[in-house]
């Protein structure tokens, strides 16, 4: 303590400390094994979507870059995992890492172009690149299997645990990867780099004036987001042993953005919460009403926006502040 004001390191230490609620959340994530053992495949896909949403949060919530083409990296990771297993070897952990790196390389390359833009141009450019990659994968059907999907590979087990129809190994694996990536992301957010990102998001013009190189920071964030998205994509391929063009689709990019906004961007847990709520709601609604479940999902989205601005977490925190 100097002059009664906390030093920077103490600020970070306070941010990094875990809130008791967080412990509860992660412990609750283990409940599906006990409470809903026949829904573990769904839980696994929720965990993967949550990871994907977390990666987008880095871009949208922290760096302030809205992307409508994030599925490009998800798909890159997904196809890498499939192709490596098809032609080389099928050990999940090593392939997961490599797929994440491939996605990261693509992200790094694209970041040089993307981060110069803002507003609508940024959104449309990310959309455009995503669509181009989707088309390229469709054209390269000899490599990717095209619209029918990549065939001829199978992930049988991870660390000795078989991927079976009950989804136990799948969920354990996805949850573990989600947790690890979450820890890493959390650390990054609560570091000087993370703070700089938020600064750039708030006021991009001022940041270079205080010595934070905006563009290079943004590129790093973009690359990181790409790596995590790639890991999520590879995870999907490995737990389902399927990959097809729709991992690169605009629909996936749009879905994950909706999920992030629903949960609340820039709040670390927003993507996770959004993923859980959106996918559980979707599963329930479509089970009850396979033809018109869109209606109820739409109603849910409208209701959330009207009553909980800035996403569910944003709205809840605003309510919490009001009661203080």
């Amino acid at each position: 303590m100097e002059n009664g004001r906390p030093a920077a390191s103490e600020y970070f230490q306070r941010q990094v400390r875990w809130h008791p609620l967080e412990y509860a959340v992660w412990l609750a994530a283990l409940l599906p094994f006990v409470l809903t053992p026949s829904h573990l495949s769904l839980a696994s896909q929720i965990a993967i979507t949550a990871l994907f949403a977390l990666s987008l949060d880095l871009l949208v919530g922290y760096a302030g870059l809205v992307s409508l083409g994030h599925a490009a990296f998800f798909g890159m990771g997904a196809y890498s995992a499939g192709l490596i297993a098809k032609h080389y070897w099928g050990e999940p952990l090593s392939v997961l890492l490599i797929s994440g790196i491939f996605a990261g390389v693509l992200g790094y390359a694209m970041s040089h172009v993307i981060v110069r833009f803002r507003h609508l141009a940024l959104i449309m450019l990310t959309l455009g690149f995503g669509l181009l990659l989707h088309e390229a994968a469709n054209s390269a059907s000899a490599l990717t299997g095209g619209a029918d999907g990549l065939q001829g590979f199978k992930y049988t087990s991870v660390l000795g645990f078989k991927f079976d129809m009950y989804g136990r190994a799948a969920y354990a694996y996805s949850l573990a990867v989600l947790f690890i990536c979450f820890l890493v992301t959390r650390r990054i957010i609560h570091s000087p780099f993370g703070l700089a990102l938020r600064g750039i998001r708030e006021n991009a013009l001022r940041m270079p004036a205080i010595g934070a190189p905006s563009l290079s920071h943004l590129r790093k964030a973009y690359t990181l987001a790409a790596v995590v998205a790639g890991v999520a994509g590879a995870l999907l391929t490995q737990t389902t042993s399927t990959v097809s063009l729709e991992v690169l689709s605009f629909g996936r990019s749009a879905d994950v953005l909706v999920i992030l906004i629903l949960g609340g961007a820039g709040r670390l847990y927003g993507g996770l919460l959004g993923a859980v709520i959106y996918m559980v709601a979707r599963d329930q609604f479509s089970g009850i009403n396979p033809q018109y479940w869109y209606f109820w999902i739409g109603l849910l989205l409208v209701a959330v926006v009207m009553f909980l601005p800035n996403g569910i977490l944003g709205g809840l925190s605003a309510l919490y502040k009001k009661t203080q």
């Binding site: 769904l42 896909q45 029918d148 999907g149 129809m165 389902t240 990959v243 729709e246 396979p290």
Partner: protein, 389 residues
């Protein structure tokens, strides 16, 4: 007294067992881009069950419906898994789209569940599980046969192929060209349309510049056939001079309505049309109209015949639903359907049926696909080739 109690309780137990419903997990695309095919397939199923009752071999048929939302193999696989693990279904059925059917084949194989593919038309799907049959159509089955017909009885020696740039398009292109070339024809050129292609004018103009003897097209249903028909009219393609050969999807009911007279003289090869003139089809269409207020299409007949295959198989197994028994009973099944005679190949487990060659003509002021030739008992040539390997 004890014997009476025992006898009564045994009787009660066996009737209780006989009462246990047979659960069928129905995986369809009921929302999104492919909602209409999913709806029509389901309508076909509902019509069949209305016409033939919902009880087979003393047990009630219970359908559990799930929606994949479109092309989503990960979701389809999970839904199939959940149907097996959570809902304990006896049979997996439906599957409108190829990637979804492919992914779910793994589930059928692993869980040893009888699976009926009622729409997805890619050839290799059938290899994914030894407990799978198909009751719809296989693309090479139609397209290669059509190609062979075109070069022989169709009297065409040259063709320019135009297909949509995706899986079914590539398969159709390959199959048609194979059949056509093997029968002595030559391919003068080919082009592929992007999947989301609202306007065909440029491609049709290209075709016109080349001036081929015939054009083969494969495009998905929906809005595209109408747009294509218009492009033909606008760019001035005379169908009497340049034969236009297409798949049945191109001249489906909605497409004919939208194309109007632009559709006249298009020649197509397909396995079903709601105007087929036989008693079974007339009854089917009548019931379908009454129940759903519209006409059935090839999605509907896939669902209808899929249910028929399930019912007949169950009758043969006496209500036993384990995979081994069902597939043994289903192999070689033959029956008369509204589409004509059809059967399940005992080796490949795939559908064998009649392919009709039709021409669009105006009959009584209405545009119709009028069949003028047919090839009976057509098997999937790709499946036959796989047998030889």
């Amino acid at each position: 007294m004890k014997k009476l109690v025992l006898a009564v309780s045994l009787a009660a137990a066996s009737t209780a067992f006989a009462q246990a419903p047979i659960k069928i997990g129905l995986v369809l695309s009921s929302s999104g881009q492919f909602a209409d095919p999913g709806a029509q397939l389901d309508n076909g199923i509902k019509t069949y069950m209305k016409m033939h009752g919902d009880t087979v071999a003393g047990r009630k048929i219970e359908l559990i419906r799930r929606d994949t939302g479109g092309i989503a193999p990960d979701v389809a696989k999970r839904l199939s898994q959940e149907l097996v693990v959570r809902d304990n279904v006896d049979i997996l059925a439906g599957y409108v789209l190829t990637p979804n059917a492919m992914a779910s084949g793994d589930v059928s194989a692993e869980a040893k569940k009888f699976m009926v593919v009622m729409n997805a038309a890619t050839s290799v799907i059938i290899t994914k599980s030894p407990y799978m049959i198909r009751t719809s159509v296989v693309l090479p089955q139609v397209m290669e046969t059509f190609g062979t017909w075109a070069a022989t009885k169709g009297g065409v020696k040259q063709v320019y192929t135009m297909v949509t740039d995706y899986g079914p398009g590539h398969d159709s292109e390959r199959a048609f060209q194979t059949g056509f070339k093997n029968a002595g024809g030559s391919i003068v050129g080919s082009v592929r349309f992007p999947v989301a292609n609202p306007d065909f004018a440029a491609f049709v103009q290209r075709a016109k510049d080349i001036g081929p003897e015939s054009i083969f097209i494969f495009i998905p249903g929906g809005a595209q056939p109408a747009a294509l028909g218009k492009a033909f009219a606008e760019r001035g393609i005379d169908k009497k001079k340049t034969k236009v050969l297409g798949s049945g999807e191109t001249t489906a009911e909605a497409a004919l309505k939208a194309m109007g007279d632009n559709a006249l003289d298009i020649i197509t090869g397909w396995h079903y049309d709601y105007k087929l003139d036989n008693p079974l089809n007339r009854a089917f269409v009548r019931e379908f109209n009454a129940m759903h207020g519209r006409n059935p299409d090839f999605f509907s007949i896939g669902g209808y015949d899929g249910m028929h295959a399930i019912y007949e198989t169950l009758k043969k197994t006496g209500g036993k639903t384990d995979g081994e028994t069902m597939i043994a009973a289903a192999k070689g099944l033959k029956w008369n359907s509204p589409r004509g005679p059809m059967s399940i190949d005992p080796e490949t487990r795939d559908v064998v049926q009649t392919i009709y060659i039709r021409r669009v003509q105006k009959v009584g002021g209405e545009l119709m696909n009028v069949p003028f030739d047919r090839i009976n008992e057509v098997k999937d040539p790709d499946g036959e080739r796989r047998k030889k390997k």
